[in-house]
Subunit: 357 residues, 2 copies
């Protein structure tokens, strides 16, 4: 159905950092995957080529009007090869973003096949140390050479890969979160549920301002009432109140996280009451005052589970679970990373193996 | 204060299209201006070089997280050289955007000097035919090679230039506008008042959907109540109701247009009552029904003045001024383009001359 993926290998491989010297997103593998789109040919010319700079005309649409999509997932080294975690969900979200951004969709099976082929070629780059992984970043840039504002007629699809350190080298650890009441990340009718650059660019100011106050991230409130909890940093957010688990409904302005979806499934499987609904920050504050706020944590591809140790809402500093990682966060983290790395049984068939040479 | 601008000229100039064959934003001049930023040196290495592709590492921040700024202005050929229109206002807005997007500011005088030097080098490219101009596009791309989400530590500033046709080859002409009630462009607390890619990417879907219905552009309503008028397409919007001119207040989600500001000044100077305030779409519809909606038009750098001939709000098709360009729109267009091209006296000192060789 799709063209064969050509492979052009590097003459000389780069030096690979030792597993113990990895960080996040600074080192890239020897190769990258690229594919082009134009209105006549559709997506075409898929290939794995040496990692190299993109040549963009300075009038390319993406340099001006932000018409871009990205995704993020990880490959873990397993006993027999490499494991991907629910890559078909990335493909689905990728196309949802593409539709919102007027970018042509891609065959979801081919999207996954492209990822697998890129990982296969650079398989030596998948680190083996506990907690490490190969971070995979597929993205699309609109590159028609035109300054008029319209959906581009040309696009470039690229997959780059970066071996990354364990997110928690000293074990999972709570963060301090500032509830943002001035800046807004997204609003219904906008692009909040799409994985596109503009949402992230718009979040930098609040993040910087929280960092200046000594906080790790912000908790975003909705853009309409500025009352309902949406996301934490670039992650989805969960609360444990009175033994129940509560997480914001998606509602068009929240990113549909794959970790979020997996966590909901696991919690329901573990017989927790999971409520997916609007949650006001005032209710969180009240639950805290009443001693009913038992846990809070973020979920995302990078950290998997990120416990929240403090929430600062207009000066009310809510310390949660004595700034310790809670029981639910702990169990989710252990089980989910276990499934992702193939060390724990995968009853959901979430992982997909890439056979390596 | 700033470094001297180096100039490296092309060996062989490109063929220039004839003034009568120009369009918008597809043809670019022989040269471009570039400058780099890093945390140690600040903005440095300003130069005019041959127009050429940008080499971006595929992990450059702008390819993923949309941390970008742009501006737009025009140079018109005049009797003694070229005229810029209020470039210091572009410099001011550029820095406002930069602050919102966590991008380092630039000395506003140097910003204008860079534009003048770029135009001077490519002065042969300024077309002469009535209504034509040299469109100037300054922009910044974040280009730190890092997949972590944070303000970049490296940036590239670029100015490209494109000779453009008259916006109205057959004279100023009304457009059909669809009032958008599903998609939202911006919300207070967001990035709506910044000239950054994400706002424009987010607008494509509504624009495409309006085009499918046979409309030229959308009228955006506010993101909170979805009731108050914000912008039309990528322009500011004005209404004439009962002889008074009404335009939306900026309020954080509306782009502070330089044409908008100039139009307000001129209208007040002409003794119109100008009200800068919230305007609900229901009030517009009521004024239409009562026969009090006399004119409507957009303002922006590309079209200068764009009369609105029809507004479709939930099926109510409001034909305005019999689909003819109104008196106010007409007079504004004539006067403003006259000032910009040096053909009409400039009582506001808005134009700035670039002496040419």
């Amino acid at each position: 159905m799709m063209e064969e993926i050509k492979v052009e290998k590097v003459d000389k491989r780069k030096a690979r950092p030792a597993d113990g010297e990895l960080s996040f997103g600074r080192t890239f593998t020897d190769h990258m995957f690229t594919m082009e789109y134009d209105e006549n040919k559709g997506w075409h010319d898929p290939k794995v080529v040496p990692y190299q700079p993109l040549e963009l005309d300075p009038a390319a649409a993406c340099c001006h009007y932000g018409q871009t999509t990205f995704e993020g997932l990880k490959a873990y080294r397993s006993n027999n090869g490499a494991l991907l975690f629910r890559p078909e969900k990335n493909a689905e979200r990728f196309n949802n973003t593409n539709r919102r951004m007027c970018i042509p969709e891609m065959d979801p099976e081919f999207f996954v096949q492209a990822i697998k082929e890129a990982v296969r070629v650079d398989q030596d780059w998948i680190p083996a140390k506990e907690g490490t992984s190969l971070y995979i970043r597929p993205f699309i840039l609109a590159n028609e050479v035109y300054l008029g504002l319209k959906p581009s007629s040309h696009y470039k699809f690229v997959i780059i890969m970066s071996p990354v350190a364990a997110y928690y080298p000293q074990g999972i650890k709570p963060t301090r979160i500032y509830v943002e009441t001035e800046y807004v990340r997204a609003v219904r009718g906008g692009t909040g549920s799409a994985k596109t650059g503009g949402n992230y660019a718009g979040s930098l100011k609040a993040q910087s301002s929280a960092a200046d106050k000594g906080y790790d991230e912000v908790l975003w409130l909705d853009g309409v009432e500025r009352e309902y909890v949406e996301e934490v940093g670039a992650m989805n957010v969960f609360f444990k109140i009175d033994g129940k688990i509560v997480t914001p409904e998606l509602g068009g302005s929240v990113l549909p996280g794959i970790t979020r979806d997996s966590v909901i499934t696991m919690l329901e499987d573990w017989d927790y009451d999971v409520e997916v609904r609007k949650i006001s920050i005032e209710d969180i504050a009240q639950a805290y005052k009443d001693g009913r706020l038992e846990e809070a944590f973020g979920t995302g591809t990078a950290a998997i589970i990120s416990p929240i140790g403090e929430l600062n809402y207009n000066g009310l500093k809510m310390e949660i679970n004595d700034f310790e990682t809670g029981e639910v966060a702990s169990k989710l983290y252990k089980t989910l990373t276990g499934i992702q790395t193939g060390k724990v049984d995968d009853p959901y068939n979430w992982t997909e193996e890439i056979p390596l040479d």
